[in-house]
Amino acid sequence: MKILQLNNVSLLKESKSILKGITIEIWNGYIHAIVGPNGAGKSTLANTIMGLSGYRDSSGDIIFDGKSIKDLSIDERARLGITLVFQEPARFEGLTVKDFILSGSKIKSKDIAIEALARVGLDPIKYINRAVDKTLSGGERKRIELASVYAMKPRLLLMDEPDSGVDIDSLKYIFDILQELKSQGSTVVLVTHSPEVLKKADHAFLICGGEIVCKGDAQKVFEYFVNKCSPCKHIGKPSKD
């Protein structure tokens, strides 16, 4: 069953065409990857699905669970179960890890925050009362972001560049929790330029110059990406082969 469908979605930015008629289907319960070189339009696509400001005037349609969400605000989309993790998560002054994790959770109990922290491999005692501010390392911040996603139990998680600013140890926890979310029924969309991250997905789309150039089984897209896309000079104009 498909949870998300994009029909001919295009987006202009300063009269430059960034997304060019994207049509994809995201099937429920899998880990998907949207992969492509720098500047391909991957983040733009994720931001458009979430409906962030500056990404709301796309053409075409975005269908979630059979209904168009194009006119919904970010929080309305979130309440349907869509969420997004930024490549560089925001830093908040004073907001505690506990309150942040529970912000998206239906049940506001400290135990949920403790469990979520433990799931991403952070000692709850050490972190729960800290602020989600600049003093956290990049990897810690990203794991806390995922703890908050875990507490929210989204139906569709969009995650931009899961490995950026993260060391190998943290990355392991991140992929573990993505698997956990999948096993609980969430659908995950990873946005990445990394073949290594692509390998963690079940299914993938390759985007270049704002167009989908290849899709299917992650292994197949991996081979295409590594053998055809990477040697190409990233001119952002997908060639016919």
Partner: protein, 308 residues
């Protein structure tokens, strides 16, 4: 008379949710120009003299005082003036922490004027936390004027909090001279709403080598509130370091202005400043929106954090 005093004391303390304190906690309660109650501990000397519309208080901290000393200043009637003059000396090697609650729960037209002179002697330290509790109608004019001298190895920190109730008119003026190896931290956290008018003027003068000064103002404004924040750090001495941090979230018709002044008169000194004024940060907001919070809930959470 005695009965009246007890009633006032009860109302004053109820408004700040403070009742029985253990005997090893010093506390002083001043209503209008009258000292209602004072309980001291060893190492703390307080002398108070009433005058027409206020109290002149002299405080000496002679030892290390373990528990925070509680001050309560306030007025129960809706109208009046309260002037507090405080001279505080923290003697060599002594230290204390003061928690002052200023409470005007029924204020319609109240002026609370405070002139404080604080001397932190060598190796001494004082932390001063001032929390204001105002009624919902504003009607309070608060003018704290504080001069601080922090001598060698001394430490001074002050925090001003006004988050609950309407601020009214606030004119805060703090000036600190900071000596060799000494540090000063001044922080204000204020939530202004309706027609509140907030003016903060803080100045840290780094005169001793290796001295440090940090001035922080975190302010959230809504409705028609107005805030002006002037933070000034002057660094004269080698290896002195200063930082100004001014963050203001502005909503509705509120207006904010920040004027950081940074002056460095020694090539070995270093002063930085950061100021961010505007609506709620869009990335913070969108993060919380994407967890399903409404815009109001998300804004509230961000402001609560900023004022924490």
């Amino acid at each position: 008379m005695q009965e009246n005093k007890e009633k006032l004391l009860y109302e004053l303390l109820s408004s700040i949710n403070q009742h029985k304190l253990p005997p090893d906690v010093a506390h002083i309660e001043i209503h209008g120009n009258e000292v209602l109650n004072a309980h001291l501990v060893k190492g703390l000397e307080v002398e108070a003299k009433s005058f027409e519309d206020g109290v002149d208080v002299k405080i000496k901290v002679r030892e290390v005082i373990k528990n925070p000393v509680r001050f309560c200043f306030g007025m129960i009637p809706p109208n009046g003036i309260q002037k507090i003059i405080i001279n505080t000396t923290v003697e060599k090697d002594a230290s204390a922490s003061f928690i002052a609650s200023c409470t005007f729960p029924n204020a319609k037209n109240i002026q609370h004027l405070m002139d404080a002179f604080i001397t932190i002697e060598e190796n001494a330290s004082l932390s001063y936390f001032e929390r204001h509790v105002h009624g919902p109608d504003g009607g309070v004019t608060i003018v704290p004027n504080t001069k601080v001298l922090v001598k060698e190895n001394g430490r001074f920190s002050t925090e001003f909090e006004l988050i609950k109730g309407a601020a009214g008119v606030i004119e805060i003026k703090y000036e600190a001279e900071i000596g060799i190896n000494a540090t000063t931290n001044m922080k204000a956290r204020i939530f202004g709403r309706m027609n509140d008018s907030i003016h903060i003027k803080e100045k840290a003068h780094l005169i001793g080598e290796n001295s440090t000064g940090v001035l922080t103002s975190h302010i959230a404004l809504k409705d028609n509130a107005v805030a002006i924040v002037e933070n000034e750090i002057i660094a004269d001495a080698a290896f002195s370091r200063g930082h100004v941090d001014c963050k203001e979230i502005v909503q509705g018709n509120a207006k904010a202005r920040a004027i950081p002044i940074v002056e460095v008169n020694n090539p070995k000194a270093h002063v930085t400043h950061e100021a961010a004024i505007g609506s709620v940060d869009s990335k913070q907001l969108e993060t919380l929106l994407s967890r399903g919070l409404t815009e109001d809930e998300a804004t509230e959470l961000i402001i609560q954090g900023l004022l924490k």
